[in-house]
Amino acid sequence: MLLIACPHCGNRPETEFRCGGQAHIARPEAPSAQSDEAWAEYLFVRKNPRGVHAERWCHVHGCGRWFNALRDTVSDRFIEIYPMGAQPISELQSEARA
């Protein structure tokens, strides 16, 4: 079970959290102006990387707040946890290339 550092509550077990999938997919300012292709991309197309992934997490069974995290999908190590709306400091490069 992963140990996740909620920025508001500290380390808590994975079962208290919900993963909200890929981060940094902003809802378009004017959805009606989007082409069908662009809208379909926004709705359905997601990355599935082997390595570092920027994800949204919510501490649903705790403070209920959303935050972003960089997690390496190979090692399951959390590299960085940062607020909604911010960008990570770490580079999006896998540490498990070997």
């Binding site: 079970m1 992963l2 994975e14 009606s32 809208w39 709705l43 209920g64 959303w66 909604m84 709306g85």
Partner: protein
């Protein structure tokens, strides 16, 4: 009682406390401290099971958790029967009843043993090759046959009466294994004051020290050192010492699962203690000191009962005071077996040693054994064994450096101790996703690169010498606790080193030799070779094709021999073949331990409303809706569901009914931007909704499909009282929070779940107003002042209320929101006031029928995540002027705006009014069309309607609204039935009754 193979002295058993248990119905005598295996051997019993595939007689191979063959069913009383217990780890105690497995009619005479004669047929991949044709045999012949043959042991048939506990723990240092390395690690870590947990699977800590009576540590007997060390650890507040506790799973971020067996070894359980306890430990650092497993030698008929691992012979002699036989042969390719042989000789047994190594490759151990009076045959191989249910002799032959065998010789014996070297137990390390490295010198995979905060020490890292284990363990424990302290220990040197061997050289035709690699799964060396010849090159594929290393073995005894043979066949170095993946659990774990207390009422929380007790005492039958228990219907004496619902439905339409709607989800949306937020979340317009008015809200996901619905009241300019479906409450709140926090953090809105704060009493029917009129204060209930879809605040029975005039029945109705604590009192007052008006309590079934009569949808019943507002005829709810709301863009998707083909909500009027369609039944236009037919849609809701005096049904049908009046055909269990397409409203089609 006679225990003919019990030595006159020695061992850690308590000879003053005799015990007796049953094996296959016969009494077996032993002593406190025995395992089932040691007591059986004390009584001369080695043959304790039949093998999985060939039903060959099998004995006790090992003394520990790696035992592959001696699997027993253990019966501790009614409901307490567990199959597949390894006799070597079950602590013997009075009252146990044990049984051997996998034979019929008995262990001695087993019909299945015919499989052994058919062994040329049962080769690797037998099932894949045999059960292919003909196709029609799959279900009726092959599957029942395979099911009957599959599986070991019999699953218990009764519910488990025992209690199991679950405990979460945190520590700075978790040490797995309390052998020399683990104990030294604990000493070092404990000194730092850090919180330490030391877990060991055995009944007493000590590991190899428990069967090493001649060893000395720091100048005193190992037993004294052990006692002092345990006393030291025991006296420290910061150390938790767990025995009978197996670390079976190593998960992410140093989360390690331990299974503690609390009471199985006690003759009478206290009734207070749980049977087992699951520890979920989150450790800062982990030290793995789980030891190593000895490898069997692979030679023809190496599976005879009486053939054990050499170190296990040592354990039985020294720890349990039991001789596996009187005339022993030790067959080995390394030095460690000589220690066992010497101790057997000292115990007065006849001992011969057969060593594959050439004399020149051996150490001083050979001379020591010869000096002790033992015959030592170096440069000899084992080519077979004699006997059937018990070994009677070992067939050996000299073998030169060229691998040629000389003349055979039979060494008569009644027990054999074999040793093919050692394999570090890297299971937990591998589970932690650490990377292994092949060590040529050790002929083994050892821990290399850690993936988590852990380190290995001792034999589990390939360090076998006692003094080295102690020093390495101490250093590991210190480092794990953040200290760099080191120390050395003086200890009796350990005989180590072996010559790796995969299959013992033989002059027999290798195609005919049946030399077992995996005793549990009956996999022979030639099975592995066959798999490679047939093209399986990946070790993971070989494992699955041959089943080697599966079940409880998990590669403990079999792994290295199997890997070595595959590498040899492929002509690749061993590390290039790699190893199979080690998966939890390390040893079998009971379901009880994993389930813990989560049974019965604790399996899933049950939510009840404040009216629950009243409903119970008024005879309600309940149904589960999400976690809620809801009153389903209120049968009177003699009534079934049908009769009760018919009566309740009539009562609501003719008089008045009372219904507990407290489970409705409720969310308070508050803040200066509340209306803007509602505008963005729902399809409906909210800005102009007046205070005190309600609107039916429809919520979509971004993909344009309906997520939830519910009535929303505007309490004030900045406050909305939102209701959701019972099952959707948490989902809707999470959906709202997600958008509020992550897309529009600029909006000033608070969301608060009020589901459990407001209880809701629905009062529905033409007499509803009359019933509450005398109870309500501060609200003008007249139709002019308080119209349909309005909300007023005031008091009822003196309790503050948000009184909604809304209807999910199509009748004049109120939904009375009151604080939960007052709900029962208000409910009872209303019920009393309603008596003159024929008030009738009704349940969810009647609620469903009444809403279906009106064609009101239920999200999740008329919708399934692919349904748009227009599909269910609710396009009119969508605000025309809003430029955006969640899901709006998707309503312009090409597939959503398609003019034909979308499934639309319609009503179905069956030709026979008494026919009630099945919900979920498929609908076609022509029942005579060829199969596969074109499905038009399906029935979503179907009931007998007492108020229409006929059946009614709602359905989603492709282009349904253009099919009004057409006849469609609906599947039934017997074929098809006919129905006419209608508008999805069956009662009061003009909708006047709600305005009464």
């Amino acid at each position: 009682m006679a225990q003919p193979f019990r030595l006159s002295r020695g061992g850690r058993i308590d000879r003053s406390r005799p015990i007796v248990f049953e094996f296959n119905g016969k009494p077996i005598h032993g002593y406190q401290g025995d395992t089932v295996a040691s007591a059986l051997i004390a009584n001369g019993i080695h043959h304790v099971g039949r093998s999985f595939k060939y039903h060959r007689p099998r004995g006790i191979l090992s003394h520990g958790p790696d035992e592959p063959s001696a699997l027993l069913s253990v019966d501790r009383g009614p409901g307490r029967v567990d199959p597949n217990n390894r006799a070597s780890v079950v602590e013997a105690r009075s009252g146990l009843r044990t049984h051997s497995q996998n034979h019929w009619p008995s262990l001695e005479y087993d019909i299945g043993a015919v499989n052994d004669l058919l062994s040329p047929v049962f080769v690797a991949g037998f099932y894949y090759k045999t059960f292919m044709w003909p196709r029609k045999f799959w279900d009726k012949v092959y599957e029942p046959f395979i099911r009957a043959a599959a599986g070991l042991g019999k699953a218990p048939t009764q519910a488990d009466p025992d209690r199991y506990a679950n405990r979460h723990a945190h520590c700075d240092v978790l040490i797995v294994g309390a052998g020399p390395a683990g104990l030294a690690a604990a000493l070092a870590a404990a000194k730092t004051g850090k919180r330490v947990i030391l877990a060991d699977e055995g009944p007493e800590p000590g590991g190899s020290l428990l069967h090493d009576p001649n060893a000395e540590i720091d100048g005193r007997p190992a037993a004294s050192w052990l006692e002092e060390t345990l006393a030291d650890l025991d006296g420290r507040e910061n150390v938790i010492l767990l025995s009978r506790t197996t670390a079976f799973g190593y998960y992410n971020h140093n989360h390690v699962a331990l299974a503690e067996r609390v009471t199985d070894h006690l003759p009478t359980a206290s009734g207070q203690a749980p049977r087992e306890r699951l520890w979920q430990v989150r450790a800062g650092e982990v030290v793995l000191a789980g030891g190593a497993h000895e490898r069997p030698l692979v030679f023809a008929d190496n599976d005879r009962p009486g053939i054990l691992l050499a170190e296990s012979v040592r354990v039985f002699l020294n720890r349990y005071g039991v001789a596996p036989g009187r005339t022993l042969v030790f067959a080995t390719s390394g030095a460690s077996a000589y220690t066992a042989a010497l101790e057997a000789k000292q115990a007065g047994l006849a001992v011969t040693i057969v060593d594959l190594r050439l004399e020149a490759d051996c150490g001083p151990e050979v001379a020591r054994l010869r000096q002790a009076g033992c015959e030592v045959l170096t440069g000899h191989t084992v080519v077979g064994s004699k006997g059937r249910k018990r070994v009677t002799g070992l067939i050996v032959a000299p073998v030169g450096s060229d691998g040629r065998c000389g003349g055979r010789r039979v060494l008569p014996c009644d027990a054999v101790g074999m040793s093919g070297g050692w394999t570090p137990a890297v299971h937990l390390f591998s589970q932690s996703r650490g990377k292994l490295r092949y060590d040529d010198r050790l002929d083994a995979f050892v821990p290399n690169i850690s993936a988590q905060s852990e380190r290995s020490a001792g034999a589990s890292k390939g360090t076998y010498d006692l003094a080295d284990c102690l020093a390495e363990g101490f250093a590991a424990g210190a480092a794990a606790a953040g200290s760099d302290e080191r120390r050395t220990f003086s200890a009796t040197p350990t005989l180590t080193g072996f010559q790796p061997v995969r299959v013992m050289p033989t002059d027999d035709d290798p195609k005919k030799v049946r030399a077992f690699i995996d005793f549990q799964n009956d996999v022979t060396a030639k099975d592995i070779k066959l798999a490679v010849r047939e093209g399986f090159q990946s070790i993971e594929h070989v494992k699955r094709y041959t089943t080697t290393g599966m079940a409880t073995d998990q590669g403990k005894t079999s792994n290295m021999n199997a890997l070595g043979i595959v590498a040899g066949q492929l002509d690749k170095p061993l590390p290039a073949v790699g190893t199979t993946t080690f998966r939890p659990p390390y040893t079998p774990v009971t379901f009880g331990a994993l389930v813990g207390p989560a049974r019965h009422a604790l399996f899933d929380p049950i939510r009840t409303t404040p009216i629950h007790g009243w409903a119970q005492s008024h005879g309600a039958t309940f149904e589960n809706v999400a976690l809620w228990r809801r009153a389903w219907y209120f049968p009177k004496p003699g009534e079934d569901l049908h009769a009760a619902v018919a009566r309740e439905c009539k009562a609501v339409r003719e008089h008045v009914g009372i219904f507990d709607a407290s489970t409705l989800g409720k969310i308070e949306v508050v803040g200066p931007d509340a209306a803007e937020f509602m505008n963005r979340m729902y399809v409906n317009p909210w800005a102009k909704l007046a205070n005190g008015r309600c609107r039916y809200g429809l919520m979509l996901k971004e993909d344009g499909y309906i997520l939830d619905d519910g009535v929303v009241a505007r309490v004030s300019d900045t406050c909305f009282h939102v209701t959701t479906t019972t099952g959707g409450a948490a989902r809707v709140l999470a959906h709202m929070e997600d958008y509020l926090q992550t897309e529009w953090p600029d909006l000033q809105v608070f969301l608060t779940s009020t589901t459990e704060q407001w209880a809701v009493i629905a009062l529905q029917g033409p007499k509803a107003r009359q019933v509450i009129e005398p109870l309500v204060e501060g609200i003008d209930l007249s139709p002019q002042a308080f119209p349909h879809m309005a909300m007023r605040t005031g008091t009822i029975c003196g309790v503050p209320t948000r009184l909604f005039r809304v209807s999910f029945t199509g009748e004049l109705g109120f939904e009375i929101n009151v604080p939960t604590d007052h709900a029962l009192a208000v409910w009872e007052a209303i019920f009393a006031a309603g008596q003159p008006h024929g008030i009738t309590p009704y349940g969810t079934e009647t609620m469903h029928v009444l809403r279906a009569e009106k064609g009101y949808i239920i999200v999740g019943q008329e919708t399934d995540g692919t349904v748009t507002p227009d599909d269910v005829g609710l396009a009119g709810m969508i605000a025309k002027t809003k430029t955006d709301f969640v899901g709006k863009r998707s309503l312009a998707r090409p597939d959503v705006i398609a003019t034909t083909g979308r499934k639309q909500l319609i009503g179905l009027i069956t030709e026979d009014p008494k026919t009630v369609l099945d919900e979920g039944a498929q609908i076609v236009a022509d029942p005579n069309q060829p199969i596969p037919m074109r499905m038009l849609g399906h029935v979503t809701s179907s009931y007998w309607s007492p108020n229409c005096n006929r059946s009614i049904a709602l359905a989603l049908v492709a282009d349904g609204r253009s099919l009004m009046g057409r006849t469609l055909h609906i599947t039934t269990p017997d074929g098809f039935t006919r129905a006419t397409v209608s508008e999805p409203v069956f009662f009061d089609t003009t909708g006047e009754r709600v305005n009464a």
